[in-house]
């Protein structure tokens, strides 16, 4: 219940593998739950569909999410998470390919806590993922649990 874990929302299986590898290289051994599209991410967060019956009070410490996602895009996922009293405080870090100004504006406007571009060069990529993991899992003080 109080175990710190990451919800990774990533549709690209190569990126998924590289992120997991980067976490491993950075010795971040926390559990990682992977959702492969926006709909799956929402089912996980609200205990519906494939995740029916999941304890929704068991919130991830941080959600690492791409913006461009199949079915329901990252911005919409973010908005729905922010709109629900149970999930609105969960830190969400956007990890995406683009650094387009437009993406950043709408990302922050929808309630993102962080915006990081995935570098192509793996050393930089691994470093970025490592820094993010350490920051959100270790350094950052999470929001207090939601009262029932």
């Amino acid at each position: 219940m109080s175990e710190k874990y990451i919800l990774l929302v990533e549709d690209n299986r190569w990126d998924e593998e590289l992120i997991l590898r980067a976490l491993e290289i950075n010795r971040i051994a926390n559990k990682v739950v992977v959702a492969h599209d926006g709909a799956e991410a929402l089912e996980y967060m609200f205990g519906t569909g494939a995740y029916d019956g999941r304890d929704v009070m068991d919130l991830p410490t941080v959600i690492l999410m791409d913006i461009k996602l199949p079915k329901i895009d990252g911005l919409e996922v973010l908005r729905r998470i922010r709109a629900d009293v149970r999930t609105r405080l969960v830190p969400v870090a956007i990890l995406t390919s683009s650094k387009e100004e437009k993406d950043r504006v709408v990302g922050y406007a929808a309630g993102a806590n962080s915006f990081v571009r995935k570098p192509i060069e793996f050393a930089e990529f691994a470093q970025a993922v490592g820094v993010m993991g350490l920051y959100w899992l270790v350094l950052n003080e999470p929001p207090p649990p939601v009262e029932k």
Binding site: N12, I120, E121
Partner: protein, 381 residues
Amino acid sequence: MSLAVGEGAGAAAPSDPVDPRAYASAVLNILDDSALEKARLIDTQRAVFSLLQDIADEKDRLEATQKAVLNVLDDAAWEKSHLIDTQRAMFNLLDDVASEKARLEIAQKAILNILEDFDLEKKKVESANIELRGEIAERRMAEEALRKSKTEAEAVSKELEAFSYSVAHDLRAPLRAVDGFSQALLKDYGECFDARGRTYLQYVRESAQQMGQLIDALLSLSRVSRGEMRRERVDLSDLARKIMAKFRQAQPERQVELVVEEGLTARVDRRLLEVALSNLLDNAWKFTGKRAAARIEFGARAGVRPRVYFVRDNGAGFDARYVDKLFGVFQRLHSTQDFEGTGIGLATVYRIVRRHGGRVWAEGEVNRGATFYFTLEEGNR
């Protein structure tokens, strides 16, 4: 008296010897007759008197009338002189009128001439009007065409935006995989490869990174053509110094002399000029990489309007024969072996300068450095 009278009445006197009685009676008769006559005379006298009285009255009246006539005549005389004056004045007036008329005629002629001219002019104006209407119609058509192409251009621009968005997201993901898994192979399975195999994997990684740079440069190029221009006063000297400071920070081991002319401000789009100056200075930085005493200069030519800015270096320079290829997309005058680069930087500079209405050109010589000139407003070179 009575005798004269008796003598006078001879008609009644008998020729016979005088009979006293008859005489008496004749005298009495005569007397009677004369009395009658006297009365008649008196009457006549009276009538004459009355006539005379009447005449006197008439005379008075006549006198009054005469006086009145005289007065009238007096008045008439005055009137006459007055009339003469008036007549004279009239004559003068008529004289004046005559000369006025002559003048009027001249004026009328002039006016007629003018009217004729006017008519001519009017015809000219009318034909000009017709021409103008034609032009307006043409213009309207042109405007309509322009509106249409603008709408089309906007649609294309939107599509382009969606396209570059997709490029930004989707093209980079496979490259991350290429680089990431090559790196993973080298790290985790390095001993499975011989030296040549490891070199090849290294090439795979370099290619992925090169392509990543290309994608970024292309996105930047398409971005400078999109979006609105916002001109504001920008201190280009300051901007150049800040850009160079970043290069120095990235490569602190390099010794490069930087000369920046102070106070070069211009009304430009800050974001675009930052991209343009970064590209030019990055080139200068890159192509002086093999110089022991590298020198990069940013300034403006003195006394030229519009102002001509320049970025000068004493680096590798270029073959002036290929100068026209410099600003084309993907054109490179050096191999990537010698100097890395995308071949998009100067094309980006060209677009930015053109968007400001300016021109960009270059001078260079192999191994003698290069100078890139540009203006940022309309005008001749």
